[in-house]
């Protein structure tokens, strides 16, 4: 069995728990381990309680896991909340000045009361207590200080020799303290040294976008989507992307639509609140047949909700966004690699079908740092621009909205001689003349409306052919099937593995291309389902309703969670066991 550990660090916001954990996650990846992080934070800049979990194993990790093996408690609140969760044989690192009720600990938990504050004070920089503690944690895990030293040198380099020396000294003190006080935990983990990549879902979305030729990006800041903008902004000049922080989400998406209309490849990102502001413009893009990619990184709603917590609660929003019917494509990445691949694919779909594509992620997937195999990210993305008008304008004039069997019409961009047209949000004729003013209701134009509306909606019929059905894992046939979509993949799979190890016949059916739904593929997969449990991170089972609307399928059991916390494998496994008894 693959070996590993769960590391957790807790502190007040602003005390550097997040950056220490990110640093540690990178060190784990460099040591050859696979990692999976989850950060629990609050909507404050200082104060409050932040904790981060870094799970690292020899083999790929599916979820953040549950009870920590190792806890760094940088304040009393962390001790009080988390110490009792430590697993048997684990360890807690805390400052010698903090209180700990040893009776609440699991069996054989080692307590390391370290002079964290004292050492940092001696070294003259308070933040160095994190380095002392991190070095101690690494010593407990037999990781050796080499990778920490590498990270410290990368950060401080030759720019700040004094800071570099202070950090290295803090590292030595932490390492030495453990050596003198019981040594490592002897977990016997093998560090392969094979270096992979560490990134968040938002990093992968941004990377997929630029690999697919996205060169216009506009966004208004909103947690948990902001880090997409941060990455694009940091690389704008290098990659050749225009990154425009807009005055609001209305402007962000309309800028994208304008840029697309003029020939760029554009994208915006937001969370549910900002998406709500974009709704009218999405219909505008649908009606004017303008490609645009929108990443919606969902957080816990409704309204402002819990801005730093996760939920899969915005599926209804994206399904129903906008007045009237317009063709939309909705993709839900299941993991970090799919954040990259689905983001890249979104641009081709948007261009080929000349309509909005919505990439539906959530805080859990988008903000978690996870290990990615570099081979899984093919940066050489083929660029499909779809049906473009070129050459000489056709005799009788260019028809931007030509009625076609596929629903897709030849697209020209401003600057092309002889193809001038108006992209209108009013209903229009094939050549773009509006019919809303003096023609609406005249028999000939009732027909134009009908045909034009049919044409646009026909794109769904064409696009559905390239939508993927659900993936059933690890094997097609099982007595019990857990249905899920998007980001729940990891915890569900881990629950499946645990249940199967206990002898249960369980598999996982995971939906990724949500709309238009490839009904024959879905029905084929559902036909094999015997007893089912639908797992969703929202209150009403939004995907379940879609599935039922499209196929008539009703799951036997449901497990809906919308408390802001991610799914944990143990709760899913417990739910399966509970319903198995009833089935």
């Amino acid at each position: 069995m693959a070996k590993g550990f769960i590391f957790r660090i807790g502190a007040a916001a602003g005390d550097g728990a997040s950056s220490t954990a990110e640093n540690f996650a990178r060190i784990c990846v460099r040591s050859g381990l696979y990692t999976f992080t989850y950060t629990s934070y609050q909507s404050v800049i200082r104060g409050g309680h932040v904790w981060v979990q870094v799970r690292a194993e020899e083999d790929p990790v599916l979820s953040q896991g549950e009870r920590p093996t190792l806890l760094i408690a940088l304040n009393q609140q962390t001790v009080d909340i988390h110490a009792s969760q430590l697993s048997e044989g684990g360890a807690i690192i805390l400052d010698e000045g903090l209180q700990l009720d040893a009776a609440k600990l699991a069996r054989e938990v080692r307590v390391l009361r370290m002079p964290l504050v004292k050492t940092a004070t001696e070294l003259g920089v308070q933040q160095l207590r994190n380095v002392v503690a991190l070095a101690a944690a690494m010593a407990l895990l037999d990781m050796g200080p080499g990778l920490l030293e590498e990270a410290i040198r990368e950060t401080w380099g030759t720019r700040k020799p004094k800071a570099l020396e202070g950090n290295l000294e803090a590292m030595r003190r932490g390492t030495d303290w453990v050596a003198a006080n019981g040594g490592s935990l002897r977990l016997g983990i093998r560090f392969s040294g094979k270096r992979r990549l560490l990134m968040t879902g938002n990093n992968a979305i941004a990377l997929g976008a630029v690999a697919a030729g996205c060169n216009f990006f506009s966004q208004y800041p909103m947690t948990p989507a902001s880090s997409i903008m941060h990455w694009v902004a940091a690389h704008a000049g290098q990659v050749g992307v225009v990154m425009k922080q807009a005055e609001d989400e209305l402007a962000a998406i309309n800028m994208c639509i304008g840029a697309s209309h003029a020939g760029a490849r554009s994208m915006t990102a937001t969370s549910g609140g900002g998406f709500s502001l974009m709704v009218e413009a999405l219909g505008e893009a649908g009606m004017t047949e303008t490609p645009v990619v929108v990443a919606l990184v969902a957080r816990c709603g409704p309204s402002t909700g819990l801005p730093t917590k996760t939920e899969q609660g915005d599926l209804n929003l994206v399904l129903g966004a906008g007045q009237g019917d317009w063709p939309r494509i909705i993709l839900a990445p299941r993991n970090t690699v799919e954040c990259f691949t689905q983001s890249a694919r979104s641009f081709n779909l948007a261009d080929v079908y000349q309509t909005p594509v919505i990439l539906l992620s959530d805080l859990y997937l988008s903000e978690g740092y996870r290990t990615v195999d570099p081979d899984a990210l093919d940066m050489n993305v083929p660029i499909l621009r779809g049906f473009l008008a070129h050459g000489e304008p056709p005799v009788g004039g260019y028809k931007r909205f030509l009625l076609t069997e596929s629903g897709v019409s030849p697209r020209a961009t401003p600057g092309t001689k002889g193809f001038q047209f108006i992209a209108g949000t009013d209903e229009h004729t094939e050549d773009g003349e509006l019919i809303s003013d003096v023609r609406a209701g005249v028999p000939e134009f009732i027909e134009v409306r009908r045909k034009m509306h049919d044409k646009r909606m026909r794109k769904l019929r064409t696009a559905v052919k390239e939508m993927q059905g659900p993936e059933v894992w690890p094997e097609a046939d099982a007595e019990y099937t857990i249905l899920s979509w998007g980001s729940s993949q990891g915890p569900v799979r881990e629950a499946v593995l645990r249940l199967r190890a206990e002898g249960a016949s369980v598999n996982s059916m995971e939906f990724r291309d949500l709309f238009p739904m490839p009904v024959p593929l879905v029905e084929k997969a559902l036909a094999k389902v015997r007893t089912s449990l639908l797992v969703e991170g929202n209150h009403t089972g939004q995907f379940g309703r879609l599935l039922r609307a499209e196929t008539g399928f009703r799951p036997d059991f449901t497990y809906f969670k919308s408390d802001g916390e991610p799914f944990y494998p143990d709760e899913i496994a417990a739910k399966v066991k509970e319903v198995l008894v009833r089935a």
């Binding site: 560490l198 990093n203 990377l207 630029v210 690999a211 697919a212 030729g213 060169n215 216009f216 506009s218 704008a236 000049g237 290098q238 990659v239 050749g240 225009v242 425009k244 807009a246 005055e247 209305l250 402007a251 962000a252 309309n254 800028m255 994208c256 639509i257 304008g258 840029a259 697309s260 209309h261 003029a262 020939g263 760029a264 490849r265 554009s266 413009a281 219909g283 505008e284 990615v372 570099p374 990210l377 940066m379 050489n380 993305v381 660029i383 621009r385 961009t413 401003p414 600057g415 092309t416 001689k417 002889g418 193809f419 001038q420 047209f421 108006i422 992209a423 949000t425 009013d426 509006l434």
Partner: protein, 294 residues
Amino acid sequence: MLDLNVYKSDTKPTWCPGCGDFAVLSSLMKATQTLQLEPWNMLIVSGIGCSSNFPHFLSAYGFHGIHGRSLPVASGAKLANPELTVIAAGGDGDGFGIGAGHFVHTMRRNLDLTYIVMDNQIYGLTTGQASPTSEMKMQTKSTPEGVIEEPINPIALALGAGATFVSRGFSGDVKGLTEIMIAAIQHKGFALVDVLSPCVTYNKINTYEWFRERVYRLDKEGHDPSDLSKAWARAIEWPAFNSARERIPTGIFYQLKGKPTYEELEPGLRAGPLSKRVAGIKPELAKELLAEFA
């Protein structure tokens, strides 16, 4: 030499006979012909309202979007292809009401855009409600006892927001309006042309006659458009909180030449227009980007 016919559309304007917007259309066509702009390198962007049907009535590329969002669409298009002449057009409700936020921010950015507002001080297409520029006491369908809030002063707002070209035209003076349009399009940076464009159906107060009694041309009174403080003084002449002395200046209030445009400063445009380079990334760059995650 491009003939004026090149700019004409087969679609006839749907405006009411006598609408001020006809003069705006003919002024713009005359201006673009004077400047010999190629219609295929022009993009006219509009929102919603009577005047926002504008793009259909001349031959150029056009985007007839949703209410209030012409400026962000125009901004995106300009950033995608700075070689295009991008003109946003619409009404006072579209620009100063629902789109007011974009109006302010687009001006401070100084993108090289021309923004023509056909300002009739009323909502026409929705059959006559008060608009952001309706004057105090004006009775409309939505204000039967008269407007009780002050109108926006678009000229002062533009000066305050840092617009580098601020002007007012009048549909009753096509020659003057055409001159303003030419200067606005030629201006490198954001140019506002606020046009007094009477609504003959729903605004029975601010009529052609009403304006003719009050308008005057700034250039004929020796106004120096490079002087910001003098521009402010002229800007607050009308609409004024105390409108006892009603004189309405037209012409160019202010022009700041030589300020770099947003697109000139934008790092993402160093390699040229986006519309001409949609492609993946080169292997060396891909390697560099991935290395940051190692």
